[in-house]
Symmetry: C2
Subunit: 821 residues, 2 copies
């Protein structure tokens, strides 16, 4: 990160000079949103941009997937998030000269995203071609309080001359505007990246409504195929002491309110613009327009001052619950808070919707929901703002019918959740790295149990969420099978684990371990429900057609679940055949061949021991009780050297497990790369949107990695690993209605009840009871074992097995290794 | 086969009554072609048809494949054979009433494809609505002698009245005619079948030329994307004693020559129509039109009588070389000859082109070339008409540059031939069942060696074909790797074998066995060339950058090639993990769930021990010397029970190995289903064209299966298995310039030199020298061991391994099997 351009500030992301570099990435960094809708950090005045994007969570278009080669059960319906009308445009002309930020002569400049107030501010002075100086100040926010509201405050002051000033506030349908159209590259073109969204080539937003009244404009549309509806509105309040006049323009794709001001020196003209979005699966746009009116009416009543104040108040609450304080590292403190703020922007007002991989900050991955939400984002919410986690889980529950149908299509009982989706249907056409990731079922069950453990919210389970546990357990019991020959036990074949550099394998360790937990959780929760609420159990059993024989089957399958282990190497194979693969020579793979997925055919990658992301290591974290400390260390060492980190889901997990097993330097290295994934655009695709999973993982790395926190069935234990360079690490944990403040220093870990009842936790296995008003400090003799150095891939590539044979490596270098006798 | 409709005739396929059933399949059965171009068996008069198709081998359109999810190295260019202008149309009107075959009142009817004369004849009497009787006789052929020529002879006789007769001879661009357009079903539709051709939705044939002169018409086009050019022509000669007049019509997509006749009772009007096609990769259509003129000029000079006579003479030669005589089974004799005739129709005049999976009889598989040609069709030609095999191998040699590029794209040295292609580029978008079939390299090398062994044509090898052996061996040496741990030796991972119901596996037995032979053949031929022709060797070594160290590497890899074997079951696993899969319960899979590929997601199928087609069993045939008799029997028994036969490549192979190991009844059952694949439309997709691979396999089943013939490095051995119901099996084998006539009876196998020098063969290991003019008869004590019964899948599903454990089966029935303790 360029610290001259982006100076350190613990509560803001500040840009101190205007540069065209990384246009798309910077748009993402300065995006504002609330989980329901988001506006990218384009300049108000438009022009140069990577993507002028505004996104409403879940508002998408569908299209028929045309497989180049079709097969039974392949995904049929593509889903792509739509760029809804851009309501944030405010163009400025002084003496008919347009203000074009990247071309203008700018004498002062500062842009900042203030994490405490939730407002993006830009202040600059423009020297016009005729030598006049114009101060422009704008503030922009998407409200966390009013789900459908955004506010823009735009001030213009000609400092040293009279001038004719024109402010043109606009709303524009960019999705279908021809000047915004970018053709999808033909497959023959080299410039492909499967991580981007599919471009839509037909008109998407069919105009339904456009109206203007008293400076308020509304545009309404229906998406051509998905039939979803959206309405966007903007309203204006204009103030100046100078003379001015206004005019209006409206057509189906464009609305424009223009102010002409005869500006006198030093007099400020201020435009307050409120914008709103309402969307639905099919409600007529008339009705949505009425909702827009109500939002804008309420905003007008409150006024800008109040709206900005409400935003700051909301964030004060948020930080009280969610802040992680890091002593002795202001740069890391800043990056950490920026990451946590992104979690809020991606999630807090999704309400009934899902948490998309890019939040509402970009169109990457088509606006889809993945298991990123459950495994990476929800831990943060379950332990700080459980209502958000509950909403996200209810959203998954709503997808259960589609998941049941998908399971049937895949010839399984129960439910199979889609790997990527907006509307509940599997949308990935490349099944080997998507539908085959059956583990998503277990991930959802895991997140549900984590939420229940953190909150004690059994009511949520009893009132329907248990169906998720039942139908996922049912799927596992049906998918797996009993083997009597060779390796006995319960086996799961033909699945893909989290790591996408091997696909469709047998007995993927992560999948088996997580499925085991899923089966056991279903049995446990059914038992518990039967005991606590026999009526609710009876209704559930009827609803999902469950009998006790099936529960017994799940219990047996969980107990007998095969966990592959290689005695020779002393590691858990990622899958049954993983250790039989050749080793990829990562040390000799040049940077311009990374990430591997963009430079090698899947068939080539699949043939090697090389990982896109943590797989076994993720299991070591999530199901740590299944492994001994020694096993964790050996597994971490083996896989760390094979992991490219081509996925941003990887570094945070590696950081957590590195901290646990003792690779303290690696832990901080991985953590640092995780917090800068977007801030430093480390994966070169921040332009497509924030990596929300990584931002969630940052919180987990802080609390689970350095804080050493683990939750086993609701029992929290802390085995801390404070990094050497830090003086302190402090955070809050919401636990069954209480809030526990945790402060870790080198000498001790302290607990305090911030609100609620007493809480019992443990430190390195010793119970600690924390009573309200009675802080407890537990002395720490150490911060865990520390292993010097790193597990180098070179060591493993040359590693000898117990029989003395050498493991070979041969890509991209020519074949080497043992010669035949 | 409905023997009332299609009566037995040893030299014809006869249809004795007109029926609308299986319209598409019957069009295929009565298609005529010569390998260069073909016309489907639509009626001259047009109207009702499944597909009015005319195909020129290799004349295709290209299109950019749009992957629903893109990845590096995925196929980019789709290729689809084009329906060239239909020149066979002759419409008939009597008193302005159109003759519409399927609606007309037909009092006599007979259609026959005469395998001796190579002519499709139709004779019928039509009772017009006004009660007049009209005899219509048509003959149609595509010349084997004149590659670009087709002849149609059309006679009309009003038997019992005066009438106004109108004969309208037409040529029509159906590819782009809107009335022929069929939209590709959206992927959401259920009616998909990956075995069909991709529909082209844009205009394909861009008109370049249309002209008429003296009743001769020419139409010329350029394909929009591929830039290939084609010209089609038709010429007419009309004779009648009645009064008549003619008129002409021409536009860019349609040509029409109309004859109006004042017909008198009993007077025959005869139209002789010659048609021609010329195509090229890019020669201007003007030039192609000139070639059409020359073909039509020559045809006019010769006259129809001579052209039909030439065709019969060519076929007399063909049958002399190629006939397989079966004593005691006229129905099988007929079906056999029809199959062999199809081989001629698909292949003999491809000249520089490839042999497509459907020949020129339909658009199935998009007109693509597969390994079907090398493994299934070429054996017939190598041993009966070697020039055709040589042409096909030269065609592959021409694709070597593209195969080199593809190998590089897949990160391999050497060459990787595409699984499906027309222009040399991989055209399959589903790599798991296509690009991953690396075995195609070994298949091509195998066919080349077979041709060389049969012909002794080392000159072909020396003059360039050796490059195929070198570049394929190089690919194998680079793809495989040495393993020191676990199972030592040379291993090949991440490939798909012939069987498409398991994909991307390690150490596929077929692949490893064939790669071994490929490596060894390359070494042997290099050694031989170095010895015989050092200069040619030196040029080759320079051309392909070969040194002796590389040869040593190939020899070592071949010797150490890992051949998986399971001691417990005593069988060769299809791949390293095959025996760890669950068993599919085929006995309880209903017919309406077959073929499996149309009713189960690949992920489901891949999880089970279930085969689309012979895989290990194919290796048992092609590389029989690698296996003991006992191994062959056990492998056959194991895999036979797991094989669905959903691919038509399967039955012929199963027949051959069933005969060898002693399952005589199975051998004849599989053979019977193979010869009737198309005749009885057993796979319900004969409408898309002939299954050429199966027709070739029929010849192999007769000679290799029942004849017991094997060729080991040019040494022929016979271990016969005459089916019980047959009295005799006789065929000819071309061997290094000689032709050997083989006659197998129950008591003896007799050899006779039909032409050429003396030949040495062996019978069950004992050498037999056959001198010209001195037939030899070798007495046979038996026809091999005979095993009663069949290897039932039920037995295997319940089979116990040596440790007593049961192998389970669970699809589509619920999970059963061993319960946990």
């Amino acid at each position: 990160m360029d610290r001259t351009r982006f100076p350190v500030d613990e509560w803001s992301l500040i840009e101190s000079e205007l540069r065209r570099d990384d246009l798309g990435a910077v748009e993402t960094l300065f995006a504002v949103g609330n989980g329901y809708f988001g506006m990218r950090g384009n300049f108000d005045e438009g022009r140069d941009s990577h993507m002028d994007g505004t996104f409403v969570n879940g508002f998408h278009e569908t299209w028929s997937i045309r497989h180049a080669e079709e097969a039974y059960g392949f995904a049929r319906v593509g889903q792509t998030i739509v760029n809804v009308p851009d309501a944030k445009i405010i163009r400025l002309y002084v003496d008919d000269e347009p203000f074009v930020p990247f071309e203008a002569d700018i004498t002062e400049y500062r842009r900042a995203l203030d994490l405490k107030t939730g407002v993006l501010t830009r202040e600059l002075v423009w020297r016009t071609p005729s030598g006049k100086h114009v101060r422009i100040r704008s503030r922009r926010m998407v409200s966390f309080v009013e789900r459908h509201l955004g506010v823009i405050d735009y001030e213009v002051t000609v400092l040293d001359a009279h001038a004719s000033v024109l402010i043109s506030s606009q709303m524009l349908n960019r999705q279908d505007a021809t000047d915004e159209y970018r053709a999808k590259p033909l497959s023959g073109d080299e410039d492909f990246d499967p991580r981007k969204a599919e471009s839509l080539t037909e008109r998407v937003l069919i105009p339904q409504l456009s109206r203007e009244r008293g400076g308020r404009y509304l545009l309404g549309y229906r998406a051509a195929n998905s039939r979803m509806t959206v309405a966007a509105g903007m309203d204006h309040r204009f103030e100046t002491l100078d003379e001015w006049e206004q005019s209006a323009h409206l057509d189906q794709d464009h609305a424009k309110q223009v102010y002409r001001i005869r500006a006198t020196p030093g007099t400020t003209a201020r435009l307050t613009k409120t914008v709103t979005y309402h969307s639905s699966r099919g409600v007529p746009t008339r009705e949505l327009a009425d909702r827009c009116d109500r939002t804008l009416d309420r905003a007008a009543e409150a006024g800008a001052v109040q709206l900005f104040a409400d935003q700051a108040a909301w964030l004060a609450d948020f930080w009280e619950r969610s802040d992680v304080r890091i002593g002795g590292a202001p740069d890391i403190q800043q990056a950490t808070r920026w990451n946590l703020f992104q979690l809020a922007q991606a999630s807090v007002r999704t309400d009934g919707g899902g948490i998309a991989a890019k939040g509402v900050s970009g169109s990457g991955y088509g606006g889809h929901y993945f298991w990123d939400a459950e495994i990476y984002a929800l831990p943060f919410f379950s332990y700080t703002t459980p209502d958000v986690a509950r909403n996200a889980l209810r959203f998954r529950l709503g997808m259960l019918p589609a998941a049941r149908e998908r399971a049937a299509e895949l010839n399984q009982r129960g439910a199979l959740f889609p790997w990527r989706t907006i509307n509940g249907l599997e949308s990935s056409a490349y099944y080997a790295a998507s539908t085959a990731q059956y583990h998503i079922d277990a991930d959802i069950a895991h997140a549900l149990m984590q939420y229940v453990n953190a909150t004690g919210d059994l009511d949520f389970v009893a009132r329907g969420a248990i169906d998720i546990l039942v139908e996922t357990a049912r799927m596992w019991a049906d998918l797996g099978f009993w083997r009597g020959n060779g390796v006995r036990g319960f086996h799961i074949h033909g699945v893909t684990g989290p790591d996408e550099y091997t696909t469709v394998v047998n007995d993927n360790l992560y999948t088996n371990v997580m499925a085991k937990a899923n089966l056991q959780a279903a049995v446990d929760m059914c038992d518990r429900l039967l005991r606590d609420d026999p009526d609710a159990y009876a209704r559930m059993a009827l609803r999902v057609d469950l009998d006790t024989a099936e529960l017994a089957e799940w219990r047996d399958a969980a107990q007998a679940m095969h966990i592959p282990y290689d005695e020779g190497l002393g590691v858990h194979p990622q899958d049954a055949q993983f250790l039989e693969r050749e080793l990829w020579d990562l040390d000799n793979t040049p940077d311009d061949k990374r990430p591997l997925l963009l430079h090698y055919h899947p068939l080539v990658i699949y043939r090697f021991q090389v990982l896109k992301q943590a797989d076994v290591v993720l299991a070591l974290w999530l199901q740590g009780h299944e492994f001994t400390a020694e096993e964790k260390r050996r597994d971490f060492e083996y896989y760390d050297a094979l992991t490219t980190g081509d996925s941003t889901l990887s570094a945070v997990v590696q950081s957590i497990v590195a901290a646990e097993v003792g690779y303290a330097h690696l832990a901080i290295d991985y953590f640092t790369s995780a917090i800068y994934v977007d801030l430093a655009n480390l994966h070169r695709n921040t332009a497509d949107g924030i990596h929300v999973a990584s931002t969630g993982g940052v919180w987990s790395a802080l609390t689970n990695g350095f804080g050493g926190m683990r939750d086993r069935d609701g029992q929290l234990d802390f085995d801390p690993r404070l990094p050497e360079a830090w003086t302190e690490l402090a955070f809050s944990i919401a636990l069954r209605g209480s809030r526990l403040r945790v402060t870790l220093t080198r000498e001790a870990i302290a607990f305090e009840i911030a609100s609620g009842e007493a809480v019992t936790v443990s430190v390195r296995g010793s119970a600690v009871v924390v009573m309200p008003g009675q802080p407890v400090s537990v002395p720490l003799a150490h911060q865990g074992v520390v292993i010097e150095g790193t597990p180098a891939s070179a060591d493993i590539a040359g590693q000898r097995r117990p029989d003395g044979s050498v493991i070979t490596a041969s890509i991209p270098a020519p074949l080497v290794g043992e010669e035949p006798e």
